[in-house]
Amino acid sequence: MTGLVVVGASLAGVHAAEGLRRAGFDGPIHLVGAESHRPYDRPPLSKDFLTDEQVDENRLVLRPVAEDGALDLTWHLGTRAVALSNDHGNVELSSGETLAADGVVVATGCRPRRLPLSTFEGRDQSDVDGVVSLRTLNDARELRHRLRSADGPVVVCGAGFIGAEVAASARQLGCEVVMVEVADAPLARVLDAEAGMAVVDLHRRHGVDVRLGVGVDHGHTDGGRLTAVTLSDGTELACAVLVVGIGVIPNTEWLEGSGLTVGSGSDDGVLVDDRCRAAPSVVAVGDVARRPHRRFGGTTMRVEQWDNAVAMGGYGAKSLLAALEWRGNDGEGVVVEPFDPVPWFWSDQYDRKIQFAGIATDDPEIVQGSEGDRQFVRAYFGDEDRVLGVLAWNRPRQAIIGRQLIEAGADRATVHDRLG
């Protein structure tokens, strides 16, 4: 084999590279990554990296990379893939180089969605001093600096998990924080309205001015620097830092013309089958990949979560080797079962550890505590009273057991029995 190419040097890509080596693949592996940093972990960027200046950037480096040279990769950092051509056999790079590939792992993740140009009189938000999105280490360095030196209110646009975590971190730093959300309840898409309101209450108790049902319409600048924003209800707010947390867009432009199925809108991302395959010699993993979820009626979803990127990266590696009918030195090949784990994520806000497994449905029920408590567990049921989602506040044990109950297709009575 001439070699394998992993595109995207972050969580999913690095775990794919590690998975290839673990399976015994000892040929060349190219790892291509647009960012120039050694691959690092993102979750701390909205949490302790902002609040605690002691967090050393070296601590963010992903474990498989931090472990001494074990992966033996050919690195192409600070380099983008610009095309997948020649029937998926070539990966073309921004450096002008073309890598020949027997197999390709697509792990290019997502980038933050930006406010429309009309918000800043035709300018892109990145050209306005004081407006930040948070995805990369560079973004986090900038935001950390801005929060510490803010001489006015911080406005967080979008009360999704990243926005909410930034709001919590900014409060911990003593900033005045306004969080605006266009929906009537935040996280209504991920959780349900009631659980979303529990998040709102949490922030209000910590002094965040939360405004629901409004967006940011306009940013006012003075000499290129943001000074205020006008909300969609006409309110004008002074604003030293505007944090834009309005969702993400998968990085799939480089795949145009590749023949892979790349959707848009609510079908965005690279479509893969239940073995993470996008084409006979291509797998896609992590935030960029849209996969079928058998447990949830076969619906296809992208899962923008840490655990998914780790698991899918490792699995995708094996699946690619199986598809290529690769054989190790002992003559053994790789066999994979379909990939369909129950999604799971955590979010830390103030003293709350919020964990969620599965998906939300329109049939939620509290099984322990109540939404106003420091600790509670809420379950979401589907057809035949089967549990499909579990939300746990400061109840990590229950979250993990809940995930297993979803996996097992447990019914309502069992859920009450085990989690109540």
Binding site: H15, D41, P43, L62, R63, W306, D307, V310, A311, G314, W346, D348, K353, Q355, N394, P396, R397, A399, I400, I401, R403, Q404
Partner: protein
Amino acid sequence: MKVVVDFDLCESNAVCMGIAPEVFEVRDDDFLYILDEHPGPELHDKVREAVERCPKQAISLEETDA
């Protein structure tokens, strides 16, 4: 194999317990307990998976003869 957890990093999210309950347990007091510091060979794969999936990169393994 010896299992070592950096308790300054661990945030008790119980991921490891989900994978290897024979070795890790998060109790209702919200602390992680290591039930078996020297798990037998039949558990090594699970423990390695726990190392991989720990969101805080808090678990490490010291390879020993046993």
